[in-house]
Amino acid sequence: MKKFKTALGMVAIALTLLTVMSCKDTKKSDEHMEMDQDGMNHKGDENMEMDQNGMQNDEMMHQDQKTSKTTAILNSYLELKNALVADNTEVAATTGKTLFDALAKFDQSSIAEAQKQEVIDIIENAREQAEHISENSGKMDHQREHFEILSNDIKDLIAITGTDRVLYKTFCPMYNKGKGGMWLSETKEIKNPYFGSKMMKCGEIQEEIK
């Protein structure tokens, strides 16, 4: 009888666990879908951060209209890069989210028709990488893998839109088993986001982007 009770108890625990787990899974994918929808129509986001946008817009008036459109994206990209330099996976995750939102708000209206599709592809791809970085706090290797893909997207984006600041295209030939990894930096000083403190100085500047 006692054995029977224990067995029942175990079945009960197992069932509860399984149910909870399956609920969690569904929720997670729902969130995912909501986020995708946000991406397609970012009215909600805009309302929430109207004040912030308003302030930024005033500052931007003085700058070149075209290049200032990437300001928010570059700000959070560089923040993310510096979090990885500092081996800080939590900050990398939160800045990944900021970048994800900044990419969603990118204004494509001034992009020439011929380049529009490419910009859409870049933004879509970059958002996916930013999302993964934001969801993988604690897995820094994984965050860095996505950062490598992301860096190429950002480089290609500013090749089309231009940049509001001087950036240095830096390359570390040792990353990814010798395939190398590129990143954009705001300083000439080499601080490696792929290795962090393990190999802070690895890298060379390949190009100055203005």
Partner: protein, 150 residues
């Protein structure tokens, strides 16, 4: 003692009850023109790896195992498939932009290399989906070749 019996009975009822809740099946016989195997010339040994180790969760057609007929097992699997497909669906690979295809190939490489994919909870039951070192190498080589050509 009586209380325990009642609890056990309720649990048993719940377990039987949830069996009647339908789950959507991820099954479709039509292979779209955007399928990875249709858009690229994939060698047979590589195709087999993709189909046995990836397609159950990353395509529109799952070969369901026996335990998936029993709840809550099928809910768990439904969640995995939904998430897996939104991340990467090999049936739609050809509709991805070239940039996205490249990123996906890169991510497949690192996920397989790090042992993150296929999921451990999946290979636990699907022993044949587990990738051997040889299979990993075959997959890696092919993807690297693709990345160079893209």
């Amino acid at each position: 003692m009586k209380v325990l019996k009642i609890i056990a009975f309720i649990l048993l009822l719940t377990f039987v009850g949830i069996q009647f809740i339908p789950t959507s099946r991820n099954q479709n016989d039509i292979v779209p023109a955007t399928d990875l195997m249709q858009v690229y010339n994939v060698p047979e040994n590589v195709e087999v790896i993709f189909k046995t180790s990836c397609y159950d969760c990353h395509s529109n057609n799952t070969a369901y195992p026996w335990y998936n007929k029993i709840q809550p097992g099928s809910w768990i699997m439904e969640g995995h498939i939904k998430e897996g497909k939104s991340e990467l669906n090999f049936n739609e690979f050809g509709s991805y932009s070239e940039r996205r295809q490249k990123s996906k190939f890169k991510s497949i490489l690192s996920q397989v290399k790090d042992g993150e994919m296929p999921l451990a909870s999946y290979t636990l039951i699907h022993r044949d989906a587990k990738l051997s070192e040889n299979e990993k190498k075959t997959l890696e080589d092919w993807i690297n070749k693709m990345l160079e050509s893209l």
